[in-house]
Amino acid sequence: MLFAAAPLLAGVRNLSVGETARLLDFYVVLPGMLLLIPVFLPEQDKAIRDLIRARYTSMGSIYLVRIFLNVAVMAALTGVFLLGLERGGCDFPFGNYFMASLAGMVFLGGFGAAAFALSDNPVIGYMASLGYYLFSFGAGAKYLGNWYLFSLVSGSYKEKVYLAVTGVALLAAAIVIRVQKTR
């Protein structure tokens, strides 16, 4: 839904490289957060958790599958959105920007999921992600260095690599913490 709202609110046609980067960095990165943070939500209810734990499949692998599925959906939606941008006459390097967008999403999602796992509270997960977004916005590259969220606008991909790797690590950590805590 957020993706669909973009043409109404922001522009999606004939954007320059810089404008596209800005849209991707600031706007498109948010839906990723929405998909990845609630990954532990269904099992929050203790009764459901007990029910699932009694099954043969381990909790860890269930979470892993769920994350993979969500990332796949994220990638598909982002891909379609970027294709739409390209069709609309926007000018940007598709492959690079696609990976860059995913990196941001995975990081924010992982950060929030880890916060959720640590605190056992989904709202804190959202708060952590939005807090990081806000902090990037305000304090920016000065404090965050290689983990600055909005580097695409200045044409730099290095940060995206850092974000992607850290994001994956955070997601893995989130699963481990969650499984350990709810044992």
Binding site: L9, A10, I48, L51, V123
Partner: protein
């Protein structure tokens, strides 16, 4: 009853993790954005470099700037608007282009061909030859002189027509037109601003505005997390049934909760103001200034408290309505839109109805003073909205208590998906 509940809520809140995370986030944001104040010295008559830029409030400057902008967009056939702060290119069809052409001709009194020649000539002038033979176009503001006798009112009327064609967020709204008349500040201008800061603002006023500008950003989103967590807590602990049977009315329960939330979240903000206040005091010792000591408190109350009130109320309302953390998403969307669409009005004096009124400078007392009634209206509106939302939340709470609306679900038609939950609750 309401007072005991208030105290209980406060105590519960001060022991919760998310409240301390809130305080941490607020403090972190403050120190990373505003931190230590660098006080500008008094401007000197023959200063090197510029004194800064200001917006000219002379209608002639505004008209020339806006007309030039319109012509440039027309000739390049590319109109840019930014409804939520992200650039959007608008394509005009032939009849719309014709309308713009007519407006341009009427405003300048010249046929479009002459305007085209003038514009092409200007673009040629802007071209700079590079050593390797290529040419770069220098950035500049194209301005067009209006025909003699054009009144500001007629001009604004025609610009409204342009806005209708382009849609929201264009450069030709009344607000945006003021923004297009950028001129250099003279020494006298700079000196006047400096004196305003000391005399009319008592030094603290200007920095209080800056404080409110920064803190407004974070206070438009953080309180929703605390509010939603508090509301959801009852559901997770499965306390709803217990609370429903108590003597206190729904309004008492929810308003005491609301008051506790807003009070607890506002106090840290007030405490933070001590930091810039002390900095102002120590700076003020060196120069002759009559400090307004209460400025920070007054500004925080009037500028920031309404934001906290409405965001908390929204969080409570949507959590009561949906039984989920949907309030976070709604507020995040609102915050996002307010933040990005406020980018054009950073210098203050153009507050509109934005949730986050911007004023990113300790100067511009004039802008603040002129638009004070608009700001007041803005803030009062949000206080009223906040109270309405809390009342709404209380009404929903009451309805659920009476058994209407199902238990925690909006539609009673939906089957109960978690029979396991009530079984566990029954076994406790």
């Amino acid at each position: 009853m309401i007072w005991t509940l208030f105290k209980k809520e406060c105590r519960m809140l001060w022991k919760s993790l998310i409240f301390w995370l809130y305080i941490l986030a607020v403090a972190l944001f403050f120190f990373s954005q505003m931190g230590t104040i660098t006080f500008e010295p008094k401007p000197q008559p023959e200063q090197e470099g510029s004194y800064g830029m200001k917006l000219s409030d002379k209608p002639e400057d505004q008209i020339q700037g806006a007309l030039g902008n319109l012509a440039e967009s027309y000739f390049h056939n590319s109109f840019t608007t930014a409804p939520i702060g992200f650039n959007k290119h608008v394509n005009l069809n032939d009849s719309e282009k014709q309308k713009v052409e007519t407006i341009l001709e009427e405003m300048t009194g010249l046929p479009i061909e002459d305007l085209q020649k003038d514009f092409d000539a200007w673009e040629e002038e802007q071209k700079v030859e590079m050593p390797d033979g290529s040419s770069v176009i220098k950035a500049g503001n194209y301005t067009l002189k209006p025909k003699g006798g054009l009144t500001y009112e007629t001009f604004l009327k025609e610009m409204k027509e342009v806005c209708k064609i382009l849609g929201p967020g264009s450069d030709f709204t009344a607000e945006a037109i003021k923004n297009s008349a950028v001129v250099e500040m003279t020494y006298e201008d700079a000196l006047e601003e400096y004196h305003n800061l000391l005399e009319k603002d008592g030094l603290t006023g200007g920095y209080a505005r800056l404080f409110c500008d920064y803190m407004g950003i974070i206070l438009a989103i953080l309180p929703v997390f605390v509010a939603v967590t508090r509301e959801i807590r009852d559901k997770r602990a499965q306390m709803k049934e217990l609370i429903y049977t108590r003597k206190a009315s729904s309004f008492t329960i929810l308003f005491s909760r609301y008051a506790a939330l807003c009070f607890s979240m506002f106090v840290p903000v007030l405490l933070l103001t001590c930091h810039p206040l002390m900095e102002c005091v120590s700076f003020g010792k060196g120069i002759d200034v009559d400090l307004h000591m209460s400025a920070f408190v007054v500004y925080s109350l009037g500028w920031l408290l309404p934001t906290i009130l409405v965001v908390t109320a929204l969080g409570m309302f949507f959590t009561e309505l949906t039984g989920t953390a949907a309030g976070v998403l709604v507020q995040a969307a609102w915050w996002f839109l307010s933040l990005f669409s406020g980018e054009e009005t950073m210098h203050g004096g153009q507050y509109g109805m934005n949730l986050i009124p911007r004023h990113n400078t300790e100067m511009n007392y004039a802008g603040f003073h002129d638009q004070f009634s608009q700001l007041l209206l803005n803030r009062i509106f949000y206080v009223v909205l906040a109270l309405a939302l809390v009342t709404g939340a209380a009404m929903i709470f009451e309805a659920r208590r009476k058994g209407k609306w199902g238990n925690g679900k909006i539609s009673r038609i939906r089957k109960r998906v978690r029979p396991a939950s009530s079984a566990t609750a029954g076994a406790r």
